[in-house]
């Protein structure tokens, strides 16, 4: 059974979680070029490596960030968005 550490609820089976996509910084839609905006909307980086990802713990309704090495499928750390310094 694969396990994942929820920053609020602790270690839980992966079946309690839903993947929410890669965490990416959004360019300012008022100031960025059309090319930058199209790249943000349509492009994804599929190269393996350490990625920041959104994950959701269903029973508690907790969204958080997981830093995951997609090459090794190892989660390096998890934290609530905006609270990474505390971890």
């Amino acid at each position: 059974m694969k396990l994942l550490q929820c920053p609020i609820n602790g270690i839980r089976p992966l079946s309690e979680f839903t993947y929410g996509g890669e965490y990416r910084d959004m360019p300012n839609p008022d100031t960025c070029s059309d090319k930058e905006w199209a790249a943000y909307v349509h492009y994804r980086n599929g190269a393996p490596g350490v990625k920041k990802e959104w994950w959701y713990h269903g029973p508690s309704g907790t969204w958080f960030i997981a830093e995951r090495d997609t090459m090794a499928d190892k989660v390096i750390r998890t934290y609530i968005a905006g609270q990474e310094e505390a971890k």
Binding site: N9, R12, S15, P59, S60
Partner: protein, 222 residues
């Protein structure tokens, strides 16, 4: 037009067993399923009781804690924990800014809060339609080992902690409390999943030699 009487979200799952039903807090519920000695025997082994009819009050928002404290309510200090009030009502902290309160049948704390108008920002009432159960008995660990992926045998639920996890595929809130001198597990889930969860848990409970008990087993109505 007649006054509507709510039915427990689990009522249809009860119906085949022909329980003695009655109205508690405006909700039709199973008061007993069998003779008192039979229910007591089940309860010793493993039993489940539907307590969806207990009054609840949900509130969330950045000012929810202040608002509850102003109303004189004692709050748990940390997320995923609970604390009893002096009158026996439960206050659960489901998040930094979210709370769920549940009364015993004789209390009216949640009714008062539900009737209180909220006139300030950052406080939002939450409609609740939970199915709620009490599970107890010697074989409770065997039941949870079949339906719950986390180990509830250790200190997971000690010191007034609560757990939000998946039980038999359903998102649920779980805690352990002492009721009438007995250690029991409390489960809350969305009401629409109630019949499924009741049937699933009851199926395992009966395999283990237990069965259902009615509301009157835990709460005497005067």
């Amino acid at each position: 037009m007649q006054d509507a009487v709510l039915m427990s979200p689990v009522a249809f799952a009860h119906a085949l067993r022909k329980p003695v039903s009655g109205e508690v807090n405006g909700m039709e519920t199973a008061l007993s399923f069998d003779a008192a000695d039979v229910e007591a025997s089940r309860n010793k082994t493993l039993s489940i009781c539907d307590v969806s009819n207990l009054n609840r009050f949900g509130v969330k928002g950045p000012q929810a804690a202040n608002w509850l404290q102003t109303a004189g309510i004692k709050l748990p200090e940390t997320t995923n924990s609970w604390t009893p009030q002096d009158n026996g009502s439960l206050v659960m902290r489901l998040g930094n800014t979210e709370f769920l309160l549940e009364d015993r049948p004789e209390n009216d704390l949640t009714r008062t809060l539900n009737d209180t108008a909220v006139n300030q920002g950052g406080v939002h009432k939450v409609m609740r339609n939970d199915a709620a159960f009490i599970v107890s008995g010697e074989l409770t660990p065997a039941l949870f080992s079949e339906v719950c992926a986390i180990d509830l045998d250790g200190a997971t639920l000690e010191e007034n902690r609560l757990v939000m996890t998946v039980i038999a595929g359903v998102s649920a809130t779980l805690l352990k409390q002492t009721l009438n001198g007995q250690s029991v597990y409390r489960i809350w889930c969305d009401g629409t999943f109630g019949p499924y969860l009741w049937k699933t848990l009851l199926g395992i409970i009966e395999e283990q030699g237990g069965g259902p008990v009615g509301f009157n087993f835990y709460y005497s109505l005067t």
